[in-house]
Symmetry: C2
Subunit: 139 residues, 2 copies
DNA sequence: AAATATGTATTAATGTATTAATACAATTAT
DNA sequence: ATAATTGTATTAATACATTAATACATATTT
């Protein structure tokens, strides 16, 4: 059962709906959840995670607004297969903004460009590996 | 006057103290502010930004806790020159975490590893260029 | 020594975010 | 058709974050 991979920590300081959002996003980005896959119904997921159904509903609806999920009343909630909502250029700008934040943090931590470059290479490779594994149904 | 580069937007949704923190961090990472440089006193900075002195004090003290600034009662607040608070390994782990968040977002935006790699290269180069400029007193 | 400049601490006012309780709407299954 | 399943909307309770008001402590300057 897919949902059992999610678990929330009510004392982490991070809002429950955000924890769920991030876990879904990570699962999709990592290929654990694939386009067309169905998520548990809000109530079932809520039971599963021991939270109020609205908390799950909020996570789902925000992810839908972001283009990751597609919810249909009466039918269920699914991983969206269609094209991203944002255009190519906007998406790149968004990612660049995130990268710049990483760079600011990294330079303030006194990492050198060389160290940074090495770390990046490693992380990117780790994800590529994971993605290849997921395509073969690794999980 | 250094502080005039900062300006806050009270209606942006982002807390004032966070806006200031980020701007200081960006200035330091970009070489605009260098170790030993003095920031405006809390009251003066507050006047300048039209916020309560406590708001500035909070930004300063959090940045001090993070190792970026050094505040001394009666003397002022300065860009810290000493070694980072965290050890090499911890700093790398922190940066890796940030990189992973970028990767999750990017893959969910359907960027390919190749596109990602290109963007990264561009952003890193942009920062390296800026840093070289700052060392020659470019601003 | 006194005055000034500066960072720090305490408390309170206010707004916002988070979560929950509950009812509603649409689709599907019987 | 009816019941069951599922997502959606509204409202409210609560907690937390943000900012401000004010007083205090330490260093520097005169």
């Amino acid at each position: 059962m897919i949902s059992s991979w999610f678990h929330l920590n009510p004392r982490s300081g991070v809002p429950l709906y955000l924890q769920l959002k991030e876990q879904v996003k990570t699962a999709v980005a990592g290929g654990v959840l694939k386009p067309g896959d169905r998520l548990l119904p809000v109530r079932e997921m809520a039971d599963n995670l021991s939270v109020n159904p609205n908390t799950v509903a909020r996570a789902y609806s925000e992810l839908e607004r972001e283009g990751l999920l597609s919810s249909e009343q009466g039918r269920g909630t699914f991983i969206r297969a269609a094209e991203p909502l944002l255009g190519e250029e906007e998406r790149k700008i968004q990612v660049q903004g995130l990268m710049d934040k990483v760079l600011v943090e990294a330079f303030n931590l006194r990492l050198t460009p060389e160290e940074l470059q090495l770390l990046w290479k490693q992380r990117l490779q780790a994800w590529e590996t994971r993605l290849r594994g997921a395509k073969r149904g690794g999980w």
